[in-house]
């Protein structure tokens, strides 16, 4: 994307009807490490890959509990996520206080969507630089919503945001038919496999860098970090990135005089990694 004269503020359209500041905000999400979410008939699960700025530093928290029945996973500017999560906690508390009911997930998602939209239509404000996966359980079952700085909030069976999230999305698209009836354990393993596909070359899912959050009918929102994650990585088995590994040989088709035998793997498209920034 190149700089142009229509990207100085959020309230200026380009001639082709784009709001460049909002699109740049979406770029900020792609700089953060991946978060993945999925939903079955009974549970909603979110997992995230944490980063640390330096070897001796702590890993940035990526999953935040909002209420007993709802939590979020973030990718992008973590301080913006903190502000939004505090707002969400207020909204959730307000629902319990005024109406004595846990806030419906679609409503709280609309609340932050509307909040984000304001920043795309008022002069002097900048859009939030974080994307959220909102996972929760309410009277109409488990839900997963993807929140974007544009104010768009959409519901998904499976979603992924952040760096290399397309690989996770590909895994989800290939396997989503198994999600609806999956047990909680299988759902978490699917999520971890999708997350694993976002790893850069030679990186691994570790207890320190992986977060798991889930919620269900009789399961309050639970967050696993560090030691709690270890058993899940053991269940997963292979925790390493698949990037840069030699692909398994393609099975040889019936050889004819004319058809060349395809045995060279397609070239890797993702080998040049962008500079890793903090979330």
């Amino acid at each position: 994307m190149f700089r142009n004269s229509y990207d100085n503020d959020s309230i200026t359209y380009s001639p082709t009807g784009r709001l460049f500041q909002v699109e740049y905000a979406l770029e900020a999400i792609k700089q953060g490490s991946a978060s993945v979410g999925l939903v079955s008939k009974t549970h909603a699960v979110i997992v995230a890959l944490k980063r640390n700025a330096e070897e001796l530093g702590s890993y940035q928290k990526k999953i935040i509990r909002i209420d007993d029945h709802l939590g979020i996973a973030l990718a992008g500017l973590a301080p913006d996520a903190r502000v939004l999560s505090n707002f969400m906690r207020q909204q959730a508390m307000s629902s319990r206080m005024i109406y004595n009911r846990p806030i419906p997930i679609s409503r709280i998602a609309s609340d932050i969507g509307d909040k984000a939209q304001r920043n795309t239509q008022i002069y002097g404000r900048r859009p939030y630089g974080v994307g959220l996966l909102v996972a929760g359980f309410d009277e109409t079952g488990p839900h997963l919503f993807e929140f974007l700085p544009s104010g768009t909030v959409l519901e998904y069976f499976g979603a992924a945001i952040g760096a290399r999230s397309q690989s996770a999305r590909t895994y989800l698209e290939r396997n989503f038919e198994q999600f609806a009836d999956a047990s909680l354990e299988d759902l978490i393993l699917h999520a971890l496999r999708a997350l694993r596909d976002t790893l850069a070359q030679d990186k691994q899912l570790l207890a320190q860098n992986t977060s798991i959050g889930f919620v269900g009918l009789d399961t309050k929102f639970t967050l696993y970090d560090n030691d709690d994650v270890r058993e899940w990585l053991e269940k997963l088995g292979d925790v390493g990135s698949t990037r840069g590994r030699p692909q398994p040989e393609e099975p040889e088709p019936a050889a004819t005089e004319d058809a060349p035998i395809a045995d060279a793997p397609p070239p890797e498209t993702d080998t040049v990694e962008p500079i890793e920034t903090d979330d």
């Binding site: 206080m97 409503r107 609309s110 009277e139």
Partner: protein, 260 residues
């Protein structure tokens, strides 16, 4: 030159008249009202499949029976009935609040609806907040519906923000006259499982008759609302007290101790 410090900063008494000490001695700003047009008791009892409420159709202006067509039981949303006693203009304001609440609740069309426990919590917050501003809504309110677990829901909130829940509740005179009669059927939590709709109705009709006999601000025409746990809500209007005996009136001479 006035050397008396008490007069410094005040207008001169010989020019503007004596200082009005009421300004200095006034208490906090308070808008406590007196109710003007009022509704009397609302009574309610839980039974095995729901809750039944009754309230007469009288809006009194002090001792004048001013309006005899006032409906004091209102359906809120799909599955909830709210019965109100006390000031009628505050009653109408609350009705408006609840109507707007339901309209806003329906904006999203997301399958989520406010039910009795939610409406009750909302009303309780409103009532308590108004009392805390010393500007109460002068009402006593019953909210009836069903709980999240499917069992009948019945709760009370009033102008002081007092809240409680029981198998039988009544406001106004009903608290003194009707509750003992209703408690013959349902004394404790859980007794409602053994009460049929017919029994509940019979008890309600009996109580409304007693209230017409003894509450000097009541009417013999009333409405009965039935809120079932299966979601059905019916409000039967223009019910009349039946089989009353006013024969005792024949022998009355004068008022109280007056000798005629």
């Amino acid at each position: 030159m006035d050397h008396n410090p008490a007069n410094w900063g005040r207008p001169r008494a010989d020019v503007y008249g004596p200082y009005n000490a009421a300004i200095h001695n006034a208490g906090p700003m308070a808008r406590t009202q007196q109710p003007s047009i009022t509704g009397t008791s609302v009574i309610a009892i839980k039974y095995n499949n729901g809750v039944m409420l009754a309230a007469d159709n009288l809006a009194s202006y002090g001792s004048l029976a001013r309006f005899t067509d006032q409906e004091r039981l209102i359906k809120v949303g799909e599955e909830t009935v709210v019965g109100l006693s006390g000031d009628v203009s505050d009653m109408q304001y609350i009705q408006n609040l609840l109507e707007r609440l339901i309209i806003e609740d329906n904006y999203e069309q997301d399958g989520h609806h406010l039910r009795a426990p939610h409406i009750y919590e909302y009303l309780s917050r409103v009532m308590y907040n108004r009392r805390s501003k010393i500007d109460p809504l002068w009402n006593a309110i019953l909210v009836a519906g069903k709980k999240d677990d499917g069992s009948p829901f019945l709760a009370y909130v009033d102008l002081l923000g007092v809240t409680y829940s029981a198998p039988t509740i009544a406001t106004g005179f009903g608290a003194y006259l009707a509750i003992p009669l209703l408690r013959k059927l349902a004394a404790n939590d859980g007794d409602e499982k053994n009460i049929t709709q017919e029994q509940a109705r019979a008890a309600i009709d009996e109580c409304m008759k007693v209230l017409f006999y003894r509450d000097a601000r009541s009417l013999d025409k009333y409405s009965v609302a039935t809120v079932k746990t299966d979601g059905q809500v019916t409000i039967e209007k223009d019910v009349r007290c039946k089989d009353m005996s006013w024969r005792f009136a024949e022998g009355i001479r004068g008022y109280g101790n007056q000798q005629l």
